[in-house]
Amino acid sequence: MNNKPISRPGHVALRVLDLDESIHHYVDVLGLIETGRDSQGRVYLKAWDEHDHHCLILREADSPGMDYMAFKVVSESELKRLAQAIEDYGISTEWIKAGESLATGERVRFTAPTGHVFELYAHKDIYGNGMPTTNPGIQAQNLKGIHPSRFDHCALMGNGVEESYRLFKDVLGFDLTEQVVDGENMMAAFMSCSNKPHDVAFIFAEEKGKFHHMSFFVDSWAQVLAAADIIANHDVSHEVGPTRHGITRGETMYFFDPSGNRNEVFSGGYIWYSDRPTLTWTTDELPRAIFFTERKLSETFFKVMT
């Protein structure tokens, strides 16, 4: 039984260069569902099997990348307690009032040592997954594109991996499921607030605050393969896969949205329990850890980020 204050990743706010091209990508190709637009022109999207209002917010900007990643906290009282705990840890927080983004309660915002902005919230309106909750059926109707069932995790790049790991472990209650080490240095930390092999990953890069990818969960290896056909049919920029990760054991494919933000479709992986030991990979085994099938690194995977 888990008793963690953060229940799961909630949503990501991404910047894109062209909103219409991006909506085509995320709705028609990836198969998310548009659930709203606000007065600032931001577009809200969710994966089909999510009940909450959104898992992705897009806004048009001069440079792509991530504005912030938000986690859902189990209760309002835990939200207040975590905000104080972050302050006590020496990181300043900012409250954002309920309703600033659609369907979302008050949020607390802070910046992790790797330079990434995170938000915590306890309430989001229910939108539903397209099926009743009594006698529901197994899949909503009229799904488009790849139609992942949910947002799964983000990988974020920057220096300060070990410091961000400590914040997430000591203050936010995450577990370290896997890590990549170079001698004494932590080069990557895979962290879970749930029973997934990761909910967020921090990977070393010289520059802080960079976005590596946002990952969406599909139900099977077969659906990863189907996703490969779909991105080819839509001439989407492809990077790696379908292939297998050593870390997390997940089946995967990477591609880019029209502004160069990296997306992943991911299936499989193992069930994480907090009493499992952390798995450690050494940098000499990094190729196998990242791409288990090929056992070699891609030219772009650790260099291309937004």
Binding site: S63, P64, G65, G90, N159, E299
Partner: protein, 107 residues
């Protein structure tokens, strides 16, 4: 079709007017310009056009400033040739945003 000459590696390829420079290069299995996200976001395929006419779609301002763009700098994945081009490959700009350790807010 326009002839694209990469002046700092002596490579050249023909690029269809409908294709951006990176697509043109990759579709002929040519090399010379580094390939990244292909969406104007990552800055890996940064080049400078020395001679020729072209159009550009929107590119990340983190990688090509307005001044640089006016000076012929562009991302190859967003650049469509309108004539033969002579280009120089620049690659990823060394970022000014590299931060030092211990940049925690509130300290």
């Amino acid at each position: 079709m326009h002839l694209i000459r990469i002046m700092n590696s002596n490579e050249q390829f023909y690029c269809d007017v409908e294709k951006n420079l990176l697509q043109g290069m990759q579709s002929l299995a040519r090399k010379g310009i580094p390939v990244g996200c292909r969406g104007g976001g990552c800055g890996i395929c940064r080049i400078k056009v020395q001679k020729g006419l072209y159009d550009c779609k929107r590119m990340s301002r983190d990688h090509v400033s307005e001044i640089e763009q006016a000076d012929g700098i562009a991302l190859a994945c967003r650049l469509y040739p309108k004539s033969d081009l002579d280009i120089e490959v620049l690659g990823l700009k060394t970022s000014k945003k590299i931060c030092t350790h211990n940049e925690k807010e509130g300290n």
